[in-house]
Symmetry: C2
Subunit: 150 residues, 2 copies
DNA sequence: TGAATAAAAGACCCTTATATCCTTTATTCA
DNA sequence: TGAATAAAGGATATAAGGGTCTTTTATTCA
């Protein structure tokens, strides 16, 4: 009974990598030692070239900072550290994730709900509101205390 | 500042179509008038051939019933009507969705959590337990009462 | 029986996500 | 200044998801 399953996910792989990378930078970069793409790729076990692409995207959107050349690499400005998780998700996966209907219907709302609207909406909104208040720095702190793996 | 976003989603399109189709069948098929793929495709605005393939997958897994030939089509047995939503999701998208880590880490659990584990897990499990108790028939009833759009 | 109907099945194509590679630009420091 | 380093950028490859088309099989009914 072979069934071809479409392996779905909440966050794209790019977004997952982006979040882990940014938290890694927050937890490991210091003014005297910036974090390089190579170091991150090794430590987080993310394909290096793919990670570089993602980091580029984040810097272009000013969610992480970088400098080129020897001793160059990535770091977070004070402002970068206060970035909330939802911002990263939005940059990587677009604004749709926390707004779109579970069943993909264009007109789904509390007034014209799809059959799963009320089952799904609190799940979605609950997560969204948490991520909207949670900063990179806060996650990095938890990592530093060793309570969590990256 | 062009950012190539990877449009993520909770349920795959195949799964969204599958759920809508099954609820449609439950709400519209009668012993004297089975629902055809064409009718469903038209009514739900789903590409017909794609829908057919999905329906095939569901019948192969005995979540919907069908007969060929003139006046043939799809219908739900009594047992089919009591199928819970999580079963459909599992057939279409695999068993991973409600178990996998938000950040895609293989070893994520309450003991070795990823940075977002506790933020995500209760919502994920909450939705899962709802879908595990919710049947096709129950959704079809809501549709019949006109409270919901398909 | 045979023509018409509708699902089952399989081959195929297009788009997007994921991943890799190569070249260019900026920076450091000997 | 120039060699080395590391990010930025662009072009390309691979895989999976989404979608289409054609043929086969089962069923009905005239």
């Amino acid at each position: 009974m072979s069934t071809t399953q479409s392996e779905s996910h909440v966050l794209s792989k790019s977004c997952q990598y982006a979040l882990r990378a940014v938290v890694y930078i927050a937890a490991n970069a210091t003014p005297s030692h910036l974090t390089g793409a190579q170091e991150m790729a090794d430590s987080l076990e993310i394909p290096k070239h793919f990670l570089s692409k993602i980091l580029q995207q984040l810097t272009r959107n000013q969610l992480v900072s970088s400098t080129k050349g020897p001793n160059g690499g990535f770091y977070l400005s004070e402002e970068n550290e206060r970035t909330t998780i939802d911002r990263i998700v939005e940059i990587m996966d677009g604004p749709g994730l926390f707004k779109a209907c579970v069943l993909g219907m264009p007109e789904c709302s509390a007034v014209h709900p799809c059959p799963l609207h009320f089952q799904a909406v609190d799940y979605r909104d609950g997560l969204y509101h948490k991520l909207k208040r949670l900063t990179i720095q806060e996650l990095a702190d938890v990592v530093h205390k060793g309570h969590v793996q990256l």
